[in-house]
């Protein structure tokens, strides 16, 4: 069928083409400009906002995007300046960053590592972004953080709660302001002991993926240290929507507390199922049966409706906080969009300001200079009280909020009430803590 007709001319011709094809890249492999990746010009600087706009966490992503737009407006001197006036560092003056106007590009991570990396790469390679920020899941945060390390730009993580982001997957070019699983466990445990006693038997339902594992581990070790016993821990598939078959065995297991290590839609469904099964009214071991949700967000509370009433959990920030920074942020966000910001919006806004401030203090956009300026940087006035960006793992250490579903919400945003502000000392851990081992920060990479 196939007929071979190699002519001398044909072979020469194709050989020449193939040779040219192979030689071309080598010939053109000239060294790029010195300095660092995407050094900005004199008039403007581009930031990349990489958030989920479609998929399961789109709500959070869009709220993050609103916060970014607000932050850019404030950095460029527009609006009321928001938290810039309450921020303890006064380096920012509303003239952009180092006198350059802040521009931004946006992308859709789709809550998939692949799509997030593609989008981040296009921002770096095509749009010349000097910093990438955003994300609403730990998988994406870890993936994009590694990419930024390789490409030589700074990554300011958005909403990511897994220990791994600043634990085994930490990178020198990546920074996280959000709190993590360990802090949730450490903050929750004393409040739980005070409210429910120290001889409880817990049953865990855990979302079967990385974040679920680290959260379960964190809550288990903190509660067991206080005398609780863990009866059972069952993994549930991430795509599960009906949790009845997982909830049914809980009542007869001898447990008297149910811990739901679920986030987003998972938590909304499992909590609703648990309430429908009458766990809230049940008695076990002579005590009232209780439910706990380690990581809360307002958007989740909204989804679960009346079921969250009286249920304990932890959160990074809440708009009802009364410090100056939070008030200023809620004020300017509310004026612009007509409703209070979520914790995702808060952390991304703060990250943008922190980056801009670090560049200004360092006097350079060079990622290594920024890393140096952020490491062990102490600040205040950004809504979480005194905060430290620890140099050893690039994690922020600040107070953690323990919250409870409000019994009588006044409006659709007023769903959580703050039970206790756990002081930072109580949630601080050693960089070599077993839950954070196995990673290496490495050194900053300024790229080309």
């Amino acid at each position: 069928m196939s007929k071979s007709n190699f002519s001398r001319r044909g072979v020469l011709k194709t050989g020449a083409i193939a040779g040219a094809g192979l030689a071309l890249p080598q010939y053109l492999r000239a060294d790029a400009h010195a300095g660092f990746t995407n050094a900005p010009g004199d008039s403007e600087v581009v930031l990349g906002f990489n958030v989920p706009q479609t998929g399961p966490y789109a709500d959070e992503g869009l709220d993050e995007l609103r916060a970014y737009e607000l932050a850019v407006e404030h950095l460029n001197g527009g609006g009321d300046g928001g938290m810039m006036s309450t921020f303890s560092s006064k380096a920012l003056d509303g003239t952009g960053i180092l006198g350059r106007e802040v521009k931004y590009v946006t992308g859709d991570t789709q809550t998939k590592s692949d799509a997030a990396r593609a989008s981040a790469r296009s921002m770096i390679e095509k749009d010349g972004a000097i910093m990438i920020t955003g994300g609403s899941s730990s998988g994406v945060a870890v993936a994009v953080q590694a990419l930024c390390q390789e490409a030589g730009v700074i990554f300011m993580a958005g909403l990511t709660h897994s220990n791994d982001t600043t634990g085994k997957d930490k990178r020198a070019n990546g920074f996280r302001h959000f709190f993590n699983s360990y802090m949730s466990g450490a903050a929750l445990a004393p409040v739980l002991a005070a409210n429910y006693g120290t001889d409880r038997k817990a049953y865990h339902l855990t979302a079967d993926y990385n974040w679920g594992y680290t959260t379960e581990e964190a809550v288990r070790s903190s509660t067991e240290a206080l005398g609780w016993e863990t009866v059972n821990a069952v993994k549930t598939p991430l795509t599960q929507t009906d949790f009845s078959s997982y909830i049914a065995p809980v009542l007869n297991s001898g447990a008297d507390v149910l811990v739901l290590n679920h986030y987003g839609g998972n938590m909304v469904n499992s909590l609703t199922n648990a309430v429908q099964f009458g766990l809230r009214e049940a008695q076990a071991n002579g005590k009232n049966f209780e439910i706990i949700v380690p990581l809360y967000s307002r958007l989740m509370a909204k989804g679960a409706g009346a079921n969250v009433k009286g249920i304990f959990g932890s959160t990074n920030w809440h708009w009802s906080l009364q410090d100056e920074g939070s008030k200023a942020f809620v004020q300017s966000f509310g004026t612009k969009y007509g409703f209070p910001p979520s914790q995702a919006a808060h952390t991304t806004y703060v990250q943008t300001l922190l980056y801009a401030d670090a560049v200004t203090r360092a006097g350079s956009f060079n990622p290594c200079a920024v890393v140096e300026a952020l490491e062990d940087f102490e600040f205040d006035g950004l809504g979480n009280g005194k905060t430290l960006y620890r140099g050893a793992d690039h994690q922020c250490f600040k107070d953690v909020l323990v919250v409870k579903g409000k019994e009588n919400p006044e409006n659709e945003f007023d769903l959580l009430e703050i039970v206790e502000v756990t002081p930072v000392e109580q949630v601080t851990y050693d960089p070599d803590h077993p839950q954070f081992q196995g990673g290496e920060l490495g050194t900053c990479n300024p790229g080309a």
């Binding site: 069928m1 196939s2 007929k3 071979s4 007709n5 190699f6 002519s7 044909g10 194709t14 083409i17 040219a20 094809g21 192979l22 071309l24 890249p25 080598q26 053109l28 492999r29 000239a30 790029a32 706009q53 479609t54 789109a58 869009l62 931004y104 590009v105 946006t106 992308g107 859709d108 998939k112 590592s113 692949d114 990396r117 593609a118 989008s119 790469r121 296009s122 390679e125 095509k126 899941s137 730990s138 998988g139 870890v142 993936a143 590694a146 990419l147 390390q149 390789e150 490409a151 791994d164 997957d169 079967d208 993926y209 990385n210 598939p237 991430l238 290496e440 490495g442 050194t443 990479n445």
Partner: protein, 398 residues
Amino acid sequence: MLGLEKKDFRLMLIVVVLTLLAPFILNPFPEGSELAQFNAGYPDLMQRFVIFGILAIGFNILFGLTGYLSFGHAAFLGVGSYAAVWMFKLLSMNIVPAILLSVVIAGLFSLVIGFVSLRRSGIYFSILTLAFAQMSYALAYSVLTPLTGGETGLQPKASDVRLFDGALEAGENATPSLFGLAMRDTYEMSVGSWVFTFNFGYYVAAVMMILAFYISIRIFRSPFGMMLRAIKSNQTRMSYTGLNSKPYTLAAFVISGMYAGLAGGLLVAMDPQAGAERMFWTASGEIVLMTILGGAGTLIGPVLGAGFIKYFENIVSKINKATLEQWFYWMPDGIEDVMIAIVYPFVGKGWHLTLGLLFMLVVIFLPGGLVQGGQKIAAIFRRKKSSDAKDGATTPAE
């Protein structure tokens, strides 16, 4: 030439020229102009064009020739990716062992899945492959976390073993390379206000795609390809004549799985990260869409379809409100707002909507895919030669 008929050779030559000159072709708009938003000539997207092109070419060998619609092809892509990352971690950051192993592993994996799935045909075959792919996804996402990294995925780290490589210097990152030339090495050429980007990784992937394309032509024109077409047209008759068709379909399935493995290995070589969502059923669906959009059963169609979808995913999704305001700033205020309100739902987070509408238009008006569109345009320009349009290379499958 090269064992190809004249017509195929011409097509091959066009593909070679287009891929080698892609940095120019994809960057038609000058830097800084408003239309620069539509430039696609940056390394990441160019790499994706050719890599997903390879994937679609491979898928087309199975679907276009035998008519077996595999709905789980993303599983082979994922398996290939994981294999490649493990080679990076264990052996060397050189992409050669990584790509070789990704092809081999994907081949073995497809042999197993194909052996089971090909016991059925039609919709049952599709469902079986879908089930296997979803199973692989679920395993990779949770149970096999030590092997796959679970949700956070698998990436090379500074602390990995890497038997053949020396230790990294302080501050050095593990970067995939081909005998010392890093995949990310890039040369930028400025001509006036145009900037063209030549990336080494892209050319590696492009050469691979050209090879893959060549092999695909040879398969299409071989007796083996003829046998596969016969299976598509009437498998029952084939078996009544005493011929066992299963070895042929299985071979096609494995070849196509190896193509997917190659694509997976290349993806990792360009961007060293593998995640489970690469195997999700939507990823498998995307491969089917690429092939149908471009023209199933045609040689060049799947490559066009792959490029089309990746372009929308990466370019249209990045247009935001601020960009639109820049475009329409010259209009009077009221009209500007109306224009933005009309266009906004179709860009940014609405890119799925735009892609869906275009897909519908293609399926309704060009059932043969983009290739048929090309033929129609060509026919307008040379009516008189339309009689020899019955060429096998460009006849749509269905």
